[in-house]
């Protein structure tokens, strides 16, 4: 594993980045459109090279709880799935967040509700950023829009997961998971040694030496006063994420009259729509949230003071638009344009929507 330029699928990039970033374990269950993650790992046999463990679980309930068990020992453990599987993982995710266990989870979104379709969608935004499981918890949510970002964000996810002792979700969709693009790979970051694991995860259940009390990983606290204090601690952590780790990309926003707000595949479409608009003489920019939680609220609020309107483009009925409207505080017109059920909008129809709904 070295620095190379390769052509690969988004799902393959996730798998290769897991190996290259020194991930200790992957536990998964097949589901379209992301099965290539586990297929790539099984074909690569990293247990023979880096020592990474890969296991196909009996269900997503099992795979996320394997992540919970393995990650609680202070190891870097990951899983991946797609929308219906992520719904099954909701229980595990709230336990992971409640016990403050770092881990990485990838969701290649497909259209719903229910079994829905296997085609790409972005209709799990609420599930990803507003909960999904029960209780007041947040995942740190990264939204890649290219195969390169799929690869790079795995490395970033480990830094964030251990910085905050929190699960990180890489929220992508079937299009980015399946498409092939060029990708620069990185040099191998060795898996942590036993000493490094003990130093990075002093809280882990890796076996109690005589020198410390036993470590307990639990999300149970029956004393309401203590449970409230614990929740306040979590909220403080989420506030710190908002202060220190918001990520976004602003394209052509300096002189823009109108702004597209879109992430992932929709942002890729909007880049082309923006180009078409500029060719027509319309001053259009793109604000691409890279972290969906924490959301780039300040940046959108600042843009709302100087642009005439925003169009949120999502492959959903309009979920992220709620956060955009809250950020903009009703200062300018903000409309949604979306397609459902696995349909990806064309750049032309997105531009038409901007002209009809915002520019008028």
């Amino acid at each position: 594993m070295a620095k190379e330029l390769k052509l690969m699928k988004g799902n393959e990039a996730i798998a290769r980045a897991m190996i290259a970033s020194g991930t200790d374990g992957y536990f998964g269950y097949p589901i379209t459109p992301q099965s290539e993650v586990m297929e790539t790992l099984m074909a690569e046999k990293p247990w023979e090279t880096t020592g990474m463990v890969v296991l196909q679980a009996e269900s997503e309930l099992a795979s996320i709880n394997m992540v919970y068990g393995g990650a609680a020992t202070g190891k870097k453990v990951a899983t991946s799935s797609s929308s219906p599987g992520i719904s099954l993982m909701a229980e595990g995710l709230t336990y992971l967040a409640g016990a403050e266990i770092p881990c990485v989870v990838m969701n290649a979104m497909r259209g719903g509700p229910g079994l829905g379709t296997i085609q790409p969608a972005q209709s799990d935004y609420f599930q990803s950023t507003k909960g999904g499981g029960h209780g007041d918890y947040q995942l740190y949510v990264l939204a890649p829009s290219s195969v390169q970002e799929m690869y790079d964000f795995v490395f970033d996810a480990w830094d964030i997961a251990f910085k905050y002792r929190n699960p990180v979700l890489i929220l992508t969709d079937g299009a980015i998971g399946q498409c092939m693009e060029k990708c620069y790979t990185r040099d191998y970051v060795p898996r942590w040694t036993e000493e490094e694991r003990r130093a990075k995860a002093p809280w882990g259940t890796w076996g109690k030496p005589a020198t410390r009390p036993h470590n307990i990983i639990t999300s149970l606290e029956l004393d309401s006063a203590r449970q409230e204090v614990f929740n306040q601690k979590l909220q403080k952590k989420y506030a710190q994420m908002k202060e220190e780790d918001v990520r976004f990309e602003a394209l052509n926003c300096e002189d823009a009259d109108y702004i597209f707000v879109a992430y992932g595949t929709s942002a890729r479409i909007c880049m082309k729509s923006m180009q078409l608009a500029r060719e027509k003489g319309l001053k259009v920019g793109l604000l691409r949230p890279i972290t969906l939680y924490p959301f780039p609220t300040k940046q959108i609020a600042e843009l709302a003071n100087r642009v005439k309107g925003m169009l949120c483009v999502e492959m959903s009925a309009g979920q992220m638009i709620e956060d955009v409207k809250l950020a903009a505080d009703c200062k300018i017109p903000i409309e949604h344009y979306g397609r459902f059920g696995g349909i990806i909008p064309t750049p032309e129809e997105v531009l038409e929507a901007l002209e009809n709904k915002i520019i008028k």
């Binding site: 679980a57 099992a62 919970y68 109690k208 036993h214």
Partner: protein, 259 residues
């Protein structure tokens, strides 16, 4: 002779295992959990593996088992302990990993995780406390509740037509090639406690062999849930539970025991 004359190291015949903490257990008087905890702790101490042992507790009466064992411990979601333990062991193969689950956790909501951990032959020890009832939530029907047995959700007795049969999950697990040692014990008499402890010791030692799951069921009473005195509950258990869940080894060294 005054008490102080007796309390001397040379007169010590029994003491709490060092692997148990000083926390006061929350279990009801008469419950088998405390005894089961004690003999597991003694086994860990005798094997000298306190620093290498990781326990996984369930949701149920023993949810807070982590407070009582002085080893690293993780509390799993309801039924998921075998999945949690699978990853702990796979990522830390030199550690001793055990799960501790009740009948609702292991044989109802966690059936899939139980069966698949056993079928994969994970090198873990699984302890199964079967008292035929949901204790923590107030005495509802468990998968192992006997036919005719009254619980909060079978107030007229378990009816096979309505609720199905008592689940002999241990016999089922013994059929899987991934289980290496499967036994059923109890802790209601000193003799049974000694047998159960020997079984647990074997189940922990087996992890060194890497030949699959060692599974120890402990048929236990729940006098609170059964609404009996501890003495009545033990008698009722012998007369009613043991015919349905007979004590003894079911599979030893990977071979089913011929009856």
């Amino acid at each position: 002779m005054a008490n102080l004359d007796i309390v001397k190291p040379e007169n010590l015949v029994y003491q709490k295992s060092k692997v148990l903490t000083d926390a006061v257990m929350h279990y009801c008087p008469g419950c088998g959990h405390g005894t089961a905890h004690r003999i597991i702790a003694e086994v860990i101490e005798e094997l000298g593996i306190q620093d290498k042992t990781i326990g996984v507790s369930p949701v149920g009466c023993s949810v807070m088992a982590y407070n009582y064992f002085d080893v690293d411990f993780q509390e799993a979601a309801h039924g998921r302990a075998p999945a949690v333990a699978t990853a702990i062991k796979r990522l830390n193969p030199d550690r001793y990993v055990f799960t501790y689950q009740g009948d609702g956790d292991l044989a109802a909501i966690g059936t899939a995780e139980t069966i698949h951990a056993c079928n994969r032959g994970e090198n873990i020890t699984m302890v199964f406390i079967n008292n035929a009832i949901y204790g923590m939530t107030g005495g509802q029907m468990a998968p192992t509740t006997l036919l005719g047995m009254k619980t909060a959700t079978t107030p007229y007795g378990r009816d096979q037509k309505l609720n199905g049969w008592p689940f002999q999950v241990t016999e089922l697990l013994a059929q899987l090639p991934g289980t290496y040692y499967v036994t059923r014990q109890s802790v209601h008499t000193p003799a049974n406690v000694r047998k159960a402890k020997a079984a647990l010791k074997k189940a922990f030692e087996n992890q060194k062999l890497q030949k699959g799951v060692s599974f120890v069921e402990i048929v236990s009473s729940c006098n609170s849930g059964w609404k009996m005195t501890p003495v009545q509950a033990n008698k009722w258990m012998e007369e009613n539970m043991f015919p349905q869940y007979p004590l003894g080894d079911i599979k030893v060294d990977g071979e089913l025991v011929k009856k």
